[in-house]
């Protein structure tokens, strides 16, 4: 066997294994799509069909039409967008202070924030609940947003600080000499130059806030304040067998995430690879 055939065989093997793996990963998603297109009477059909026949969009129209689904979707959008914007701003300010400003206690404070990356978030959930209750932030989207921003703060500050430190100082110093204040420099020079870093923070915080379940589950009891993950989980526990509708709602909830991922894939992969952020 010559080298060329050997290489060709190796490539064939690679593709076969990758396709096999991709198949295993994709089958549950495929089954979810198929189930969402089945009429209710076919949901527990034996054998289960892997092709939606007959196919119908009833599950989508019913699931989206009932239970304030539109409102839940809107809540998720409001929470995810606000959390993301605030995280970029607040962790950006912090990161700038850590990267460029000199003040007593800077190192100590930075380590305090680093500790935040090591605490398992669920450990905080009980006292967060009590504090949120005290501040009347239970059952409120504001409460969700404040906690989501806080839970992302350490990691994103750490990431942005790295980006800011890599920026050339000359520009900022020139601006300082021209009489620009720290704020102008931060908003007009540092943030725009760190667009890749800001993109990573944006994607991660958006996905985190869009998918988050434990805190929303604990802190939201009011029906009208639900976000999509709790709405979907509760819908399933209330309508045990209506899987078609559960998955129709799930797919609609999944679409924004997939769009964000596909569009920003480059930044995303680079971001995970360089920082080890958990997606």
């Amino acid at each position: 066997m010559n080298v060329k055939t050997q290489r060709r065989l190796g490539r064939l093997l690679t593709y076969t294994l990758l396709l096999l793996g991709a198949g295993i990963v994709a089958v549950p998603f495929w089954y979810m799509v198929v189930t969402s297109l089945k009429p209710q009477s076919y949901i527990f059909e034996i054998p289960p069909r892997l092709w939606p026949h007959p196919a119908t969009l009833t599950n989508y129209t019913t699931a989206l039409g009932k239970d304030l689904f539109g409102l839940y979707f809107l809540n998720s959008v409001v929470v995810a967008v606000s959390s993301t914007a605030l995280t970029v701003l607040i962790s950006g300010l912090l990161a700038y202070a850590f990267a460029r400003l000199e003040f007593p206690g800077r190192e100590a404070l930075f380590y305090v924030f680093l500790v935040g990356m090591m605490i398992p978030p669920v450990m905080l959930i009980i006292p967060q609940f009590i504090i949120a209750k005290y501040l009347q932030l239970l059952n409120s989207l504001t409460g969700l947003i404040m906690v989501y921003v806080t839970m992302n703060l350490s990691m994103q500050t750490f990431l942005l600080r790295g980006f800011f430190e890599g920026l050339p100082r000359d520009l900022e110093e020139a601006a300082l000499i021209d009489g620009a204040g720290r704020w102008t420099i931060f908003l007009r020079i540092v943030l725009p130059l760190s667009r890749p870093g800001v993109a990573v923070v944006t994607i991660f915080t958006f996905l985190y806030s869009w998918d988050e379940f434990p805190w929303a589950h604990v802190s939201i009891k009011e029906t009208t304040r639900r976000t999509l993950p709790i709405a979907i989980a509760l819908f399933q526990s209330e309508h045990l067998t209506e899987w078609g509708q559960v998955f129709a709602a799930s797919i609609v909830a999944l679409i924004p995430v997939v769009i964000v991922f596909v569009v920003f894939q480059r930044y995303f992969i680079r971001g995970i690879a360089t920082t080890g952020l958990k997606g």
Binding site: G21, A26, T150, F261
Partner: protein, 298 residues
């Protein structure tokens, strides 16, 4: 009057630091201290002033509780299965993707899809696939592969219920470990492989003697992060077994914490459980990092 220099510096840094610091104190530092305190009380959420100091009773109760011990074992088993599972499959995917492939972006999206999907959605999906009657998995095992004669009641059995939970844990995490490992693989200089190939080392020898040792920092990182994640697993179990069904035998530590706190309103007990878990996670992480660092030096 002019302020002394350190004070002016603090004053000018304050607007940058303050918003983050306030949030962090309120929702991270404060809670850490507060929940430590609560764990020594029979805490009354409605009337905190009537809470009773019980010293270590919550901790003692957890350690003596068979349901808690079972939950600890379940959590350890989940970690012991899903961490190596994610690393092995992730490594396989990373090695396969670490080549000049035209469709790499396509595979990346597919393998990453489970990672970006909410735990709620994938947990429900696995629950549905493992339903006892007319579930996809039973159908495949019974009618296609003929491995079982009768349908298995996956979700009603305290051992079998972990099959979907463990599989989900691996399935959802492989994309992430693969991306991290791929970055690690690509940082290994090409000339090392070339030199070894010139010396007559085959692909397997090169993988064993070059790739694996140079991947060690990445593998340590993954081991620590995935172990922490495994010990903190919670949503899949909560949704698939309702947290503990049947008979409180399938709890994870955190589903038990959740039930104690938010269903039974026993905030003191819940806090003690979460502190025990955090302490354990901390010890394990330090231990893993030490152990693996030592091996590198040898």
């Amino acid at each position: 009057m002019r302020l002394p220099r350190p004070l002016t510096r603090i004053a000018s840094a304050l607007p940058f630091v303050l918003p983050g610091l306030v949030l962090f104190s309120l929702f991270v530092i404060g809670p850490m201290v507060y929940s430590f305190r609560i764990s020594f009380y029979d805490w009354k959420i409605v009337r905190p002033e009537r809470s009773e100091w019980v010293a270590l009773a919550n901790y003692a109760r957890a350690l003596g509780d068979p349901i808690f011990r079972r939950a600890v074992l379940n959590t350890l088993a989940y970690t012991a299965v899903t961490v190596p599972g994610q690393i092995l499959f992730g490594l396989a995917v990373a090695v396969l993707l670490d080549q000049d492939l035209r469709v790499r972006a396509f595979f990346r999206v597919v393998y990453y899809l489970p990672v970006i999907t909410s735990w709620v959605i994938v947990s429900l999906l696995f629950e549905y696939m493992f339903v006892g009657q007319a579930g996809l998995v039973n159908y495949l095992l019974r009618d296609v592969l003929h491995l079982i004669r009768d349908n298995l009641r996956w979700l009603a059995d305290p051992i079998l219920a972990f099959v979907p939970i463990h599989l989900l844990g691996i399935w959802k995490g492989v994309g992430w470990t693969a991306v991290i490992l791929l970055a690690g693989l690509q940082s290994i200089p090409e000339h090392l492989h070339e030199a070894a190939a010139v010396d007559g080392a085959g692909p397997l020898a090169r993988f064993w003697y070059i790739t694996l040792p140079l991947l060690r920092p990445t593998l340590v990182f993954l081991l620590v992060v995935l172990t922490i994640g495994g010990l903190n697993a919670y949503i899949s179990n909560l949704l698939i077994t309702n947290g503990g069904d049947p008979l409180d035998k399938t709890h994870f530590v955190l589903t038990l914490m959740y039930e104690a706190t938010f269903t039974k309103l026993d905030f003191g007990y819940g806090s003690a459980i979460s502190y025990l878990l955090t302490a354990f996670v901390f010890v394990i992480s330090v231990f893993q990092i030490r152990l693996l660092r030592k091996q590198v030096e040898l």
